[in-house]
């Protein structure tokens, strides 16, 4: 876990009081909405469809039990008893009152949390692999590097007014569990041929209305130049990124228009210049940060568990992940019950997850960008007891990476930008596939739904993606196939004309049936799609 020092705490506390004064002045009429809006957005406070919405940063998705308890208390005290975990590993509250927002931020600060830089054209919360520090396949724990970048990017004076928002992801394994190449900057910690650790930089990825996969602009940056190289990437963007058109303002457009080669040349030139300035923190600082993320005291124990209960065995098979310590696993708590709202958790559920983290996972939790929660370090011997508690609370759905494990943005039920509702479509699809019994046969099938072109639901990167659009005042849903945000990253293709709310559910089942009919042994949906192409799917969908 990251730890605040006295400077961190003082900065966050001061920011709360600053916002308290800003909110007071707004309520007294001394600030107009036009004047107040940028100030509230800097503190994560949006005005959404029904009320103010607050987005709370969860650095690289890592939090402890006390913090999860605090998030639950906030849901009860300031909201309507629930929160929504997002595709940026954050949490959002939908029913916040402006007159109480400063008190809420004060409560957050007491557990070393805040909502700073969760909005606005600045560097947002750094995201990472939700199995960081636990995954058997990682080179190192990526979180100290994410934390270094978090500290560098927090209140960075030069990058507080970028052309557009800026998102960074850091991973440290061949498997990409953070959609790294669909970020403004994706960083993968690697080793060079000499065995030295460094960072590969991918710049200019993103989803939204113009999805792009980030090209690699440098395969190896020594770790003692990580911040300097990041600074160079941002400087070139800040200097030349378009500010005249918000739809062309993201770094992906700059990299695309300049060409990766020319952008890289400019970054290297800036990098050479910056190296003379000595802005890089000493490696000792990185070593200090690593101590925050030291392994908990794993103990030896059973490496197998009684699987005689078939429901438990299914959950173990689907929702637990191999751990670097072989007496442990990472356990995924699904926030996708059949017919439920993806990513929503009640205050009671949050309290329970916090208690279970304390009891079974060294007091640690992670938020996945797929809107589930991870207990990263669970003893295999504790799995039956853990599953029993989860199942009892409705949190034991065994559906990780299945068609029932749907990413869905809040959509038109909550979001003022949305054109169509996402959540009801997710609910109907999970109900459909639960009822027809095809989920198990389909295996890994990642379905992602966005309610508008901004793509918060990552529809471009779904094996099956759904995009909600407004067609003359009526919700309409486009179907995309073949996307992936993993190491086999790809952007989905639209199949053809869109469908109605019920029609899109039928269309998803039709596409799933094509896969079941055409697949070869061992092929996932995505593999079959890549082998046979889109035409058999279009034929089945449109005749």
């Amino acid at each position: 876990m990251y730890l605040y020092d006295k400077y961190d705490q003082a900065m966050v506390d001061a920011r709360v009081e600053e916002f308290r004064d800003q909110a007071r002045r707004r309520l007294e009429g001394k600030l107009t909405e036009d004047q107040f809006k940028p100030l509230r957005l800097m503190n994560g406070l949006y005005l959404q469809l029904h009320a103010y919405m607050l987005r709370v940063a969860i650095p690289y998705g890592t939090l402890n039990g006390a913090q999860m308890h605090a998030l639950a208390d906030i849901a009860d005290k300031y909201d309507r008893g629930y929160g929504h975990f997002t595709t940026r590993q954050n949490i959002q509250y939908n029913w916040i009152k402006l007159e109480e927002a400063a008190d809420l931020l004060s409560d957050l600060a007491k557990v070393e949390m805040h909502a700073i830089q969760t909005s606005g054209n600045c560097i947002r919360n750094i995201s990472s692999d939700h199995f960081a520090g636990a995954a058997a396949d990682e080179l190192v724990d990526p979180r100290p590097y994410a934390e270094l970048l978090r500290q560098w990017s927090s209140f960075h004076p030069e990058f507080s007014y970028l052309p557009r928002k800026f998102k960074i992801a850091v991973i440290a394994s061949d498997k990409d569990r953070a959609a790294m190449r669909l970020h403004d900057i994706g960083i993968r910690i690697v080793q060079n041929e000499a065995g030295e650790p460094g960072a590969a930089f991918y710049v200019g990825g993103g989803m939204g209305r113009t999805p792009m996969i980030a090209p690699c602009i440098r395969e190896f940056v020594p770790l003692d130049q990580l911040v300097t190289y990041s600074e160079a990437c941002l400087r070139v963007y800040n200097r030349y990124g378009r500010r005249d058109n918000k739809y062309k303002a993201r770094i992906k457009i700059l990299v695309h228009e300049l060409g990766a080669e020319e952008y890289t040349r400019q970054v290297e030139e800036e990098f050479a210049h910056l190296q003379q300035q000595g802005i890089e923190p000493p490696l000792a600082e990185l070593e200090r940060l690593k101590t925050y993320f030291a392994d908990p005291p794993f103990d030896d124990g059973p490496k197998t568990v009684d699987r005689s209960d078939p429901d438990f065995a299914l959950w173990v098979d689907r929702n637990t992940i191999r751990h670097k310590h072989d007496a442990h696993v990472s356990a995924v708590i699904s926030l996708k019950p059949i017919g439920g709202i993806p990513g929503d958790a009640s205050a009671d559920q949050m309290h329970l997850m916090a208690e279970l983290a304390k009891q079974y996972s060294f007091d640690e939790l992670r938020v996945m960008h797929t809107q589930n929660i991870v207990l990263p370090h669970v003893r295999i011997a504790d799995l039956p007891a853990l599953w029993a508690r989860l199942d009892e609370a409705g949190l034991g759905a065994p559906n990780l990476d299945t068609i029932e494990d749907i990413i869905a943005c809040p959509g038109l039920d909550y979001c003022s930008l949305a054109n169509a509702r996402s959540i009801p479509v997710a609910q109907k699809i999970s109900e459909r596939f639960s009822a027809n019994g095809k989920t198990a046969a389909l295996g890994e099938l990642k379905l992602k739904i966005s309610g508008c072109i901004n793509a918060c639901g990552h529809h471009h990167a779904g094996h099956i993606g759904i995009l909600g659009v407004d067609k003359k005042g009526v919700e309409n849903y486009q179907l995309l196939l073949g996307g992936s945000e993993a190491e086999d990253v790809a952007l989905g293709k639209i199949t053809g004309p869109g469908f109605s709310e019920d029609g899109i559910v039928d269309a998803v089942e039709t596409a799933a049936d094509v896969y079941l009919r055409e697949r070869s042994d061992g092929e996932r949906f995505l593999d079959t799609y890549r082998r046979i192409g889109i035409d058999p799917f279009k034929e089945a969908l449109y005749g």
């Binding site: 707004r26 309520l27 029904h50 009152k97 038109l412």
Partner: protein, 98 residues
């Protein structure tokens, strides 16, 4: 007809212009007609509403109803959480919106 809507400054709640005040119930809304912009400016300056704007609507069953689904969802609440809408006990709430 034109309805005037915005959000309550303190709570963020969706509100509708009633002719003399703001109500969270769309049934109380009146046709602001050509005066919508003028009323919006005056009420925002008086801090009685936040970010007001006019929406197209029609009378249905004698009650005002926005033409666009986004405004109907604003008027009622999230369709996926009927317990949190203004008509939690109304089994037909979804039909009102969709």
């Amino acid at each position: 007809m034109k309805l005037l809507t915005g959000n309550d400054l303190k709570t963020g709640a969706v509100t509708w212009w009633t002719g003399h005040d703001w109500s969270i119930h769309i049934e109380d809304a009146i046709n602001a007609g050509d005066r919508a912009d003028e009323i919006a400016r005056r009420e925002e300056a008086a801090r009685r509403v936040n970010a007001p704007y006019a929406v197209d609507a029609e009378q249905r069953d004698g009650k005002p109803r926005p033409l666009h689904i986004k405004e109907r969802i604003r008027a009622l609440g999230p369709t996926v959480r009927p317990d949190l809408t203004l008509k939690p006990a109304d089994p037909d709430h979804r039909e009102w919106v969709i």
